[in-house]
Symmetry: C2
Subunit: 151 residues, 2 copies
């Protein structure tokens, strides 16, 4: 049979959905959505990324991301620049207001990290992070294979 509580994708989805819902509530007062925050955070981490890179890093579907960026741009938190060397590519930069927004939200994000891993040992947390990264890499490989076999 199907032991649901022992099935990794289910556990992952469920935990992810719960934390996403809570965090959405937290950033709403700032006038941004969870996806907007995820894009902002990824841009804070590294400036000047392209839309495609950002999509890969955040796992936000690229056309969705394009509209998330519309919102961020309208709110003057992010700037889009057409790259000079390759006119197809759009590079993304935080505005000063975007940086301010990030500074304000980071404490909340840090609180969520603490709440999420409450009661876990440092060793467990390190393991969890490593495993989530490996899992992501595994799914990436699958995507690549599927893309290759579609052609």
């Amino acid at each position: 049979m199907l032991p649901l509580d022992d099935y990794v994708p289910y556990l992952l989805n469920r935990a992810g959905a719960r934390i996403a819902a809570s965090f959405s509530d937290e950033v709403r007062p700032f006038g941004i959505t969870l996806q907007m925050w995820r894009a902002l955070a990824a841009l804070t981490d590294r400036d000047g990324q392209t839309v495609g890179e950002l999509s890969g890093r955040t796992a936000i579907e690229i056309s969705t991301l394009s509209r998330v960026l519309d919102g961020l741009q309208r709110r003057k938190l992010v700037e889009r620049k057409r790259a000079e060397d390759d006119g197809r590519v759009v590079t993304l930069y935080l505005t000063p207001a975007g940086r301010t927004m990030t500074r304000r939200v980071i404490p909340i994000a840090e609180r969520y990290e603490r709440v999420a891993i409450a009661g876990l040992s440092a060793r467990d947390v390190a393991t969890l992070k490593r495993l989530l990264r490996e899992l992501y890499a595994n799914m990436d490989k699958l995507c690549a294979n599927r893309a290759a076999s579609d052609s």
Copy 2:
């Protein structure tokens, strides 16, 4: 600063989004969505659940779930029954067609489990499952606290 690749909610969201997107592609040919599958799987695990219970178990927002159930009912995969002892409650049952659908999709789900955890030791997998369950419980506590303080 914000070491994004070391931040649990981000890693979780990212891995969850990626696996969800791939799995959606897999169940689409069966005419169902990922959320429909998650509901079906949870009902296979235990029959006769209420809408609220199912929402809690799947972390699908309850009004969304209500409409997911509309879809499942229209496809004759799930039946809604008003409970006899409490007229507010709706209990949910798989139809034979629902059970057939589940039987067909389970092999795909099992393949995804294998792909997701490829390269991880049995010990690591056990740890991952335990940690994901604890994390979910932690977020549940947070939700409960927030709900209490809102009143």
